[in-house]
Symmetry: C2
Subunit: 308 residues, 2 copies
């Protein structure tokens, strides 16, 4: 496979894969992490975003995060690596930005983590400070299920005007194609043309891409890259119905995400089942799925042919 070095314009398009950061005995499992990165690069994903929510960034020390960023770049070949830099305190975010730069990241992903609820001005100030502190392009990470911060469309617009903002990672879009298009157009209307829009919420990725999102910031892309690429490529090649059909085929997987409190525990169980991560690879206190739940995950993986 030939991978052309992406231009800045295209860097934040296509499929960005979000791998897990597996722990073993509460330490970064460097070997399985490096193997995951190699596997994603080999599969041909357009970019790899390490230390996203799926990559447990919020749970790791700054040293662990620096190490993971360096390992990712070292094992990704020519595939661009983006690094999550979010933290509760601005000074900690800036330290993570430094280590992402040192690692050779091509972009950074920043979510407004909260303990005390933040105001819109707090969040705008955070993005302004970070954008000023680095030359790396910034992905605005809107993940209200974890950060509990609710972006408004207006705030997207204010932040997107900051120099260095390259992309916005939005939560899922409505399943209805018309409503999805309306939502994406609404965002597009308030952000500069060079800022790409990336959908997350894997179950609505096909709908988001068909509605005009430039990128899919993908949880399953980090563990099941082939099936994610099938959806991503169909949408990009104008075969929107094929993207929707493949997403619909994965309904049992989306069902497990909904039933088991989100994608993280399910994807970790899949990675463990496939031997991509050690057993119980999530940071405690997150216990991960029960044996009975894991057995259901394994059934779905087999039935959907995701273990091939």
């Amino acid at each position: 496979m030939t991978v052309d070095p992406p231009t800045t314009a295209s860097l934040f398009t296509g499929l960005s894969a979000f791998p897990l950061t597996p722990l073993a005995d509460d330490r970064l499992d460097e070997r399985s992490f490096a193997r995951q990165i190699e596997r994603l690069a080999g599969a041909g994903v357009d970019s790899i975003t390490v230390l996203g929510s799926t990559g447990s960034y919020a749970y790791l020390t700054s040293e662990e995060r620096a190490r993971a960023a360096a390992l990712a770049v070292a094992n990704a070949g020519t595939t661009p690596v983006f690094v999550g830099v979010g933290a509760l305190r601005t000074s900690q975010v800036l330290a993570n930005v430094r280590s992402a730069e040192d690692a050779g990241a091509r972009g950074i992903l920043l979510a407004p983590m909260t303990y005390q609820p933040l105001t819109a001005d707090d969040v705008y100030g955070l993005f302004g400070t970070v954008a000023e502190a680095t030359e790396l392009p910034v992905i605005v990470y809107d993940n209200p299920g974890t950060t509990r911060f609710e972006f408004t469309t207006e705030l997207y617009g204010r932040i997107a005007e900051l120099p260095g903002i390259a992309s916005i990672k939005i939560p899922g879009v409505p399943a209805d194609p018309g409503e999805a298009r309306t939502r994406v157009d609404e965002i597009r209307a308030v952000v500069p043309g060079h800022v790409t829009i990336g959908v997350s919420g894997d179950a609505s990725a096909a709908a988001g891409l068909n509605a005009g999102c430039d990128t899919w910031y993908s949880v399953i892309g980090g563990t099941l890259p082939d099936v994610a690429l099938k959806i991503s490529r169909a949408a990009r090649e104008g075969r929107g119905a094929d993207a929707v059909a493949e997403s619909a085929r994965l309904a049992p997987l989306w069902g497990l995400f909904a039933e088991f409190g989100g994608s993280l525990r399910v994807v970790a169980a899949i990675a463990e089942h496939l031997g991509l991560a050690p057993e119980r690879c999530l940071p405690l206190p997150i216990q991960g799925l029960s044996e009975a739940q894991r057995s259901r995950v394994a059934d779905v993986v087999r039935d959907l042919g995701l273990d091939g």
Copy 2:
């Protein structure tokens, strides 16, 4: 003033004051922190809980937390000091428990911080691990406004059965005395008799104490100890109406808490106004109140005679 060394039974009763942990230029302002602690001990609060939510525990490094715990114990005289040990990852919590022990804390406060939402079993497991790892009594910290974890009464009961659990810090109670009593009785029915119940949410503290709570885990107690002691002592001495009247007198303060997104930014502005903390003492990205908002806070402080 005579301070009797409390017995274990009475340790988690009365007024527990939650001071700020002021930062100056993003570093722990040791001098103002130590002075705050001395001031609280001098005022005669029953205990001091450092590194609560008001103490910005979630934003501080483990080194800063160890230092704050040690400073608190060194400056509290005979007043017992409890230390918040919460963190996103269990191993980080255990490191904070060690530093609280080393500092000479008399108890620890543990909130189930979340980034990924936690299950009840995750939280139960966390408390079990911590209770097993220390001889220090544990205060279960239920603060859904910051942790986004919703305890059930049933989960209070399960956790309270663990050895070492000494107290439960509950959110505010209903304003109606009958409803408040029903809520406290409901909790009392599921926890062992040695586990005290402490109310937080300062605006409902008088209602909570009158309804049978043993303790007030108090934000204003950390910055305005005299007025908090007035409410606490009235309630404990059976002068429930006096407690309610003093709380009602403070309605303009409670109004600012509600209007400005909670107590933290308001109390920080009060501490800064009174010279107890340096300007802009909260950790960024929390910007604190605007000048116009601070001016309103100062007016309320003056009108209520809280600057005396």
